[in-house]
């Protein structure tokens, strides 16, 4: 099935309820191929839930979403084959070495035998862990763990990657380096869907959606969103203003 209008991700009126709690409230957006799409918002805004739905980990309560043309509700397996996912919680195996984790995910993602060594080398270099192959993963510092997790998520060269708060708890320098990696991936045509609660990282995205209480309260390129706020406006300003506007509307 061809992707919708060349878009990598299409979300239409997505809802997700947990009992009486609405985690995702009528979200609609689309992400183009090769785009770095940012998902901003405070904790509890519904970012992780949305990402999980897009990865086929949760079923939507209503609405529709498709990744690379595959419907996430009815074709989750096809979706999973073409994505990489990095969950919010660090979820590589702490009691395995760096190399063993890489080998495992290479096997599990079905990286072709001919490509394996090359991809392994690439990932190790990307994570900067060429000399730490035999180190126990739980002994790595936070920033390295994140890079390793990112590496494992792209071993199979997926066309689209979902990163759920990949830089939380990481120092600013490491964060900067991480985003360099993301840029490099996007340049090669990978679509990156990344969520964060760091407002400054918003600047790095091509387009972004601001989420608050399950709803998308602003959508567009950073420059677009900041226009109308004057010189020197930051995403923080945009965000706070958007929230205040929402709360006023609610009254």
């Amino acid at each position: 099935m061809p992707p919708d209008n060349g878009n990598a991700v299409v979300v239409e009126h997505l809802y997700k309820r947990f009992g009486s709690f609405v985690a995702v409230d009528d979200v609609s957006l689309s992400v183009g191929k090769g785009e770095i799409f940012g998902f901003l918002g405070p904790n509890g805004a519904g970012k992780s839930t949305t990402i999980r739905i897009l990865c086929g980990l949760l079923a939507p309560s209503s609405g529709r979403a498709s990744v690379r043309g595959f419907d996430v509700a009815t074709q989750p397996e096809q979706v999973k084959r073409s994505i990489g996912y990095m969950s919010q919680r660090f979820s590589l195996y702490g009691d395995l070495t760096v190399e063993e984790n890489i080998n495992f995910f290479a096997g599990v993602y079905g990286v072709a035998a001919e490509r394996r060594d090359e991809r392994k080398a690439y990932v190790m270099q990307m994570a900067g862990l060429e000399n730490e192959l035999k180190r126990m993963t739980h002994l790595l510092a936070g920033g390295w763990k994140q890079r390793l997790a990112l590496g494992c998520a792209v071993l199979h060269e997926p066309p689209i990657v979902f990163l759920d708060e990949p830089t939380s708890g990481v120092d600013p320098i490491a964060r900067r380096q991480f985003w360099d990696l993301i840029y490099a991936m996007a340049e090669r045509g990978t679509t990156v869907f990344v969520s964060t609660h760091y407002m400054d990282e918003a600047e790095y995205c091509h387009r972004l959606a601001l989420m608050y209480r399950g709803r998308v309260i602003a959508l567009g390129a950073p420059a677009e969103l900041k226009s109308g706020f004057g010189e020197g406006a930051t995403m923080d300003d945009v965000f706070i203003a958007s929230i205040e506007r929402e709360e006023a509307l609610e009254k």
Binding site: C55, G56, L57, P76, E77, K80, R81, I83, Y85, S87, R89, F90, S91, L92, Y93, D95, L96, E100, N103, F104, F105, A106, G107, V108, Y109, G110
Partner: protein, 377 residues
């Protein structure tokens, strides 16, 4: 199912198992520990029962009876000059289980061709030993009684006579009557159950708790591959334990293995597979390790230990419980084990039990597979 993905899971599980050296060495030492306990320390055989003798008569006849008692391996006379109060006191303190009271008219009555009664006082709190002790004591006294009658007959000129019926007891399969020859084969079932249910019950639950399950779910890994990968890794561990038990049981404890080792390995593999599937099923359903562990103890270990016929004979259980044991796979496996080790029987005799194990394994595998699929969807 793709071989690559299965193999990746299998390797990962293997690494987990070998990395956790604390768990690993306990898993491998477990069979040794149990073998030591059951092969050496624990026995249900009843002998050397601490006995008090209260001889109110003090005649050659009563002393003869006491000599019989003390000469038997079943009784250990701890006091020869007991009295009622003393016996009760000993019961209270659990320093004696049996009191034999010989009445004062013992010798007199026997000489006058009158019947006489010997009292057996029992501490009933250990009812099993008490019943058996009473049985042995009665048998011994009856034998003495029969001898006395014979002597009387001879004295009346009836000539040297033999017992009309001479009961010849021939013991099959376990001539030396060593309880360990019987317990150790059944122990293999318990060992496998412990490893299978305990360890596998934790494996999936742990991934839920750590969050690595979520990562796995986002990959193309199919539920069956995950199931098989984990199964095979723990299967290797289980069969290793079985090999250890076999080698130590036969080589160190000298338990005879009269049947086919190949059949034994086949049965073990079949049983282990079913047990592993059950553990993984529990682990998938209960997302917490502690819960999974407790339920696995209840549903795998306890039945294997109590209801499999390994120590406590099923024939002696209430009928309702006997029916319950029909769905305990360990029961069939213990039967097979005892048959192969001690009786040297083959597939033709045991095939019904193999069939049950096979059906059980297939059923639980399907169940585990379905549950895994459900939880991963």
């Amino acid at each position: 199912m793709k071989w690559r993905r299965f193999y990746a899971i299998f390797r990962k599980e293997g690494l987990h198992i070998t990395r956790d050296w604390r768990s690993l060495w306990m898993a491998l030492a477990m069979p040794l520990l149990l073998l030591l306990l059951f092969g050496y320390a624990l026995t249900l055989d009843v002998d050397q029962i601490p006995t008090v003798v209260y001889d109110q008569d003090q005649t050659p006849q009563s002393r003869e009876l006491i000599a019989r008692l003390s000469g038997s391996r079943y009784f250990q006379i701890v006091e020869r000059r007991g009295d009622y109060a003393g016996i009760i006191r000993r019961f209270d303190r659990s320093t004696a289980l049996l009191g034999v009271v010989i009445p004062s008219e013992f010798g007199r009555n026997l000489a006058a061709n009158e019947d006489v009664a010997v009292q057996l006082l029992l501490d009933g709190s250990d009812s099993n030993t008490a019943s058996i002790a009473a049985g042995y004591a009665e048998a011994l006294i009856m034998a003495y009684s029969a001898e006395l009658r014979q002597e009387q007959m001879m004295r009346r000129g009836a000539g040297k006579l033999k017992q009309p019926i001479d009961p010849r007891v021939r013991v099959l399969y376990n001539n030396e009557m060593k309880s360990r020859n019987f317990i150790i084969p059944g122990l293999i079932a318990v060992i496998l159950m412990i490893i299978a249910s305990m360890l596998t019950s934790l494996t999936v639950a742990r991934e839920w708790e750590n969050g690595t399950m979520e990562q796995l779910l986002s990959t193309p890994v199919r539920p069956t591959e995950l199931l098989m990968g984990k199964l095979c890794a723990y299967f290797v561990l289980g069969m290793t334990d079985m090999a250890i038990a076999l080698v130590v049981g036969v080589g160190v404890f000298g338990v005879p293995l009269r049947g086919s080792p190949l059949l034994l390995i086949g049965a073990s593999a079949l049983f282990l597979f079913g047990a592993l599937c059950w553990g993984i099923f529990l682990s998938t359903v209960m997302r917490s390790q502690e819960l999974a562990y407790q339920i696995s103890l209840l549903s795998s270990f306890l039945p294997a230990f109590l209801l499999s016929g390994f120590i406590f004979a099923i024939e002696n259980m209430p009928l309702v419980i006997q029916q319950v044991t029909r769905i305990v796979p360990a029961r069939y496996f213990v039967s097979i084990l005892q048959g192969i080790f001690m009786k040297g029987v083959g597939f033709t005799v045991l095939w019904t039990k193999f069939l049950f194990l096979f059906i059980y394994a297939a059923l639980i595998f399907t169940l585990a597979n379905r549950k895994m699929r459900q939880k991963m969807a």
